[in-house]
């Protein structure tokens, strides 16, 4: 069930009404049932998967908390169980490719193993939540004893398919809190959902057509064109995933629950490190806490820190999918983070340059440079395979100008999408600053009720009148 579908527009109000009309003790069971129905709407059989993982992790954590002797063994079993499930569903074909490639000289061909595996929706997200849970219990947190509350933690439908990746210490206590819905919270939830739908259906889905046109016909475009496509994709993925996160937060808010923020204007970051503090924040913090720090973090010397960063980001890249271009993207991000870290350490030696970077112009230059670096990364992320990565980068770096030395794109003017993209990209680039100003102003000043209502009405109007037809799924559903 897509958040941007009619089914969800019916499902959410029905669950909302049942939730608030029933006595408080039934609320968790209602949400759990609704979450399972939500999951079954896609492929009913995979409900078994989430149920088995829930039962397994529940008992595993209880054993970790109880057992002194076999604590570590239970932890390892839990992690292997979770990662094994993820590996089977997500990386089977990738491993098959890799093993076949390695064993090719000896006649190995593992492609003969004919298994059809359909990736269960949301598996990468809820498996990471389970791993976080058992590791934290191992580290000393108290396990959740109420099975229904625990079962709701990974399956909670607003965050079930594409996060944000929650922490059980934040989420589970909210389930037992006595809470009455206020008008302010209801409005906040509804406005978050509207904003999310606007980002997804109006901006991201329309940009998608522009981006798909470019990335599926790389050979037809010039380097300048590819830069435009890469910038458009950077915004598409941000608005698509950011829109999803807004709808998730808004939906949760309607039931009185807070889920973490996932994005904070990532394209105004002044460095790659700052970008990762603003982009997919819950994945970033998960990777930091459960991968980077256990690898030694920044306490093991300069080279090891860089190594840890690269390993963390490569694995973070592979988390997105079992594809070489995701691996390359992770490697690129890791190297950028390592360079950024080194640069930060060294910039004190260059007083003049450091002063410039701290000035207003310097800060803006840093933002532009970071955006440039991010866009190159996004092009790697979007390219369909490693061959396409090379082709895209060659175009973007103007090494390959075999076709279209001048921009073909000026001649590309498909109704609705293409001409809109010409206007949309500059608006989106500048729009972030306007949005930040508006957000800060709204935080500091109470807005008149009718002004907020007019804003809401405008959002509804634009979604109803201009949303792209046949809205595609959210990009992060595939991860």
């Amino acid at each position: 069930m897509n958040f941007n579908s009619l089914k969800y527009a019916v499902f959410l109000p029905v669950v909302f009404a049942l939730f608030w009309l029933c006595p408080a003790r039934f609320r968790v069971p209602i949400l759990l049932l609704a979450s399972y129905v939500f999951y079954m709407a896609w492929r009913p059989i995979y409900l078994l998967l989430i149920l088995l993982l829930t039962i397994g992790n529940y008992f595993c954590a209880l054993q970790i908390a109880k057992s002194e002797k076999h604590k570590k063994a239970w932890l390892v079993a839990g992690i292997v169980g979770n990662l094994g499930t993820l590996a089977y569903f997500k990386y089977f074909y990738f491993l098959e490719d890799v093993i076949s490639l390695i064993t090719k000289p000896w006649g190995g061909d593992f492609h003969k193993i004919a298994i059809e595996i359909i990736l269960p929706l949301g598996i990468s997200f809820f498996v990471f939540e389970f791993i976080h849970y058992i590791i934290d219990v191992y580290r000393g947190s108290k396990p959740v004893t109420n099975f229904l509350s625990f079962a709701l933690f990974p399956s909670f439908f607003p965050t079930q398919i594409a996060g944000p990746i929650k922490r059980f210490q934040d989420f589970v206590p909210q389930l037992t809190q006595d809470y009455n819905l206020t008008v302010a919270d209801f409005d906040e939830g509804v406005f978050l959902i509207l904003a999310g739908l606007f980002k997804k259906m109006l901006l991201a889905d329309n940009l998608a057509v522009f981006v798909n046109g470019g990335f599926s016909n790389i050979q037809l475009f010039s380097g300048f064109d590819m830069w435009l496509f890469a910038i458009a994709f950077s915004f598409q993925v941000y608005l698509d995933f950011g829109g999803y996160a807004d709808i998730a937060r808004g939906s949760a808010k309607l039931f009185g629950y807070r889920v973490p923020v996932n994005f904070d204007f990532p394209y105004v970051a002044g460095s790659t490190t700052e970008f990762w503090n603003r982009w997919h924040m819950t994945l970033g913090s998960w990777l930091r806490d459960y991968l980077y720090i256990p690898l030694g973090g920044s306490r093991t010397g300069k080279w090891n820190t860089s190594r840890n960063l690269v390993i963390t980001m490569v694995l973070g890249g592979l988390w997105h999918g079992a594809e070489f271009h995701y691996l390359l993207w992770g490697l690129y991000q890791g190297v950028c983070l390592a360079i950024n870290r080194e640069f930060k350490a060294m910039r004190g030696n260059w007083t003049g340059f450091s002063t410039f970077l701290d000035s207003a112009v310097g800060k803006r230059a840093s933002i532009c440079f970071t955006f440039f670096v991010t866009v190159v990364g996004m092009a790697i992320f979007r390219a369909q395979d490693s061959t396409a990565v090379v082709a895209v980068l060659k175009k973007m770096l103007f090494i390959d100008t075999t076709f279209g030395a001048t921009s073909n794109l000026v001649a590309v003017n498909y109704p609705l999408i293409y001409p809109g993209a010409f206007l949309l990209i500059p608006i989106l680039l500048l729009g972030q600053y306007v949005c930040i100003k508006v957000r800060d102003y709204v935080r500091e000043n109470q807005q008149p009720l009718y002004l907020r209502a007019a804003y809401g009405a405008l959002l509804i109007f634009t979604i109803v009148a201009f949303a792209a037809d046949n809205a595609p799924r959210f990009i992060y559903y595939q991860f």
């Binding site: 009619l6 089914k7 019916v10 008008v183 209801f186 409005d187 509804v190 406005f191 057509v209 522009f210 798909n212 046109g213 470019g214 599926s216 016909n217 037809l220 000026v410 001649a411 590309v412 003017n413 498909y414 109704p415 609705l416 999408i417 293409y418 001409p419 809109g420 010409f422 206007l423 009720l449 009718y450 907020r452 209502a453 007019a454 804003y455 809401g456 009405a457 959002l459 509804i460 109007f461 109803v464 009148a465 201009f466 792209a468 037809d469 046949n470 595609p472």
Partner: protein, 396 residues
């Protein structure tokens, strides 16, 4: 001092509720504006599909043509390839819908019909033909005769969704006149709900008009900013096909072209796999539904006083052989029965006069075969027009 708000006060203190209320007011306002202005044609259509071009051409004519040709790609190929062969030049399907070749046949046969207009669209089903006839070919814009070309695919296409999913239906629904079919043609519950929403909300129901207006604004801005006419598409069709698979079809007038027949360069394309998929599953429900539309079309034409001739289009033996004989016979008997019982005429033109080299592929005729087919249609129409006019004079 604490005061308790009444439910109405609570409701009116919610920005979400007020937003919804404001939207409802706008929606009612827009309903009024749309009713008082001629919005149907003036805002145009954001996506220029084949039917959009045909409807635009048909409505823009000074005189209503005598004969309108309906059908799927079997008919368009015949008409435009015959035309291309006649003039020995490429023929653009979207910019000219008249069949000069057929008009010449009418003249040669001394037929009372003079002009022929092709409203056939690839993939057209009897349901589409009915929607076109009900919306465009009735009242002041009705022709004297309609020829509908059918093939087994017309009643059995396994790849066909539901009648409301076609571009033809969408445009005809916008032009009005097919209201009573709006709910019945939607097979899934969610499509029905979506339709009811489009009826409840004027803004949602006129989504295409708003998108059209947005296009115009964006085009105007781009014109000023880039000093280029963005209303003309230069984007190669390969790119559009790759990127716009999920969007409705949109063509510039010269993008669908047919070429003249040349025995030296003529090739036969194998489209058997495609048709194997189409014939894969014979859905009785599709047959029942499409036969019902065929019946409605016959009744409509009878009520409007328009002569309807339904013809079984020629196909190759290989194509026919893919369909089990009982199924093919059932198609032929059902189609002819329903047409004849409801006041139309049925002609089986799938005869051995068509040879293998008349075909471009297993089902589509080339220019030579197209001319042969049009000649036969003209003959049939010429004969039936005499019968019809005799009938009408007797009735008078």
């Amino acid at each position: 001092m604490s005061t308790t708000k009444t439910p109405i006060q609570v409701l009116f203190s919610s920005a979400s509720f007020l937003a919804l209320l404001m939207f409802a007011v706008c929606d009612i306002g827009s309903r009024f504006v749309f009713k008082t202005t001629n919005t149907k044609i003036s805002y145009g259509e954001p996506y220029r599909s084949r039917i959009w071009w045909a409807a635009r051409d048909y409505l823009g004519q000074k005189e209503v043509p005598d004969v309108v040709l309906l059908g799927a790609s079997d008919m368009t190929c015949a008409v435009y390839r015959a035309e291309a062969t006649l003039y020995n030049r490429p023929e653009h399907e979207l910019s000219n819908h008249h069949s000069e070749y057929m008009q010449r046949q009418f003249a040669a046969l001394n037929c009372p019909y003079k002009s022929a207009f092709c409203m056939a669209i690839p993939g057209q089903m009897p349901s589409d033909a009915y929607f076109i006839a009900k919306t465009l070919l009735s009242k002041n814009t009705k022709p004297k005769a309609i020829y509908l070309s059918v093939t087994p695919r017309s009643l059995y296409d396994a790849t066909f969704g539901d009648p409301s999913s076609t571009d033809i239906y969408k445009l005809m629904s916008k032009l009005g006149g097919v209201e009573e079919y709006e709910l019945a043609t939607r097979n899934s519950l969610w499509d029905k709900v979506d339709y009811l929403l489009s009826r409840a909300s004027n803004i949602y129901g006129h989504k295409w008009d708003f998108v059209s207006m947005q296009h115009n604004v964006v085009h105007d801005i781009n014109k000023v900013a880039f000093n280029q006419n963005f209303g003309v598409i230069h984007t190669p069709i390969t790119i559009r096909k790759a990127s716009l698979m999920e969007l409705p079809e949109d063509f510039t007038p010269e993008e669908v072209t047919d070429f003249p027949y040349d025995p030296k360069t003529a090739v036969f394309e194998n489209n058997i796999p495609e048709y194997r998929a189409r014939y894969k599953q014979f859905k009785e429900s599709t047959l029942i539904q499409q036969v019902a539309f065929l019946k409605d079309l016959c009744e409509l034409c009878k009520n409007e006083g328009v002569l309807l001739v339904v013809g079984n289009s020629p196909v190759t033996n290989e194509n026919r052989a893919m369909i089990p004989k009982p199924v093919y016979d059932h198609y032929l008997s059902e189609a002819s029965r329903v047409v004849r019982e409801n006041g139309g005429m049925f002609e089986n033109l799938d005869t051995p006069t068509f040879e293998h080299d008349d075909f471009f592929d297993s089902i589509h005729l080339n220019g030579k075969g197209g001319q042969k087919y049009l000649k036969q249609i003209a003959t049939v129409l010429s004969q039936t027009s005499t019968v019809a006019s005799a009938g009408s004079s007797r009735a008078n």
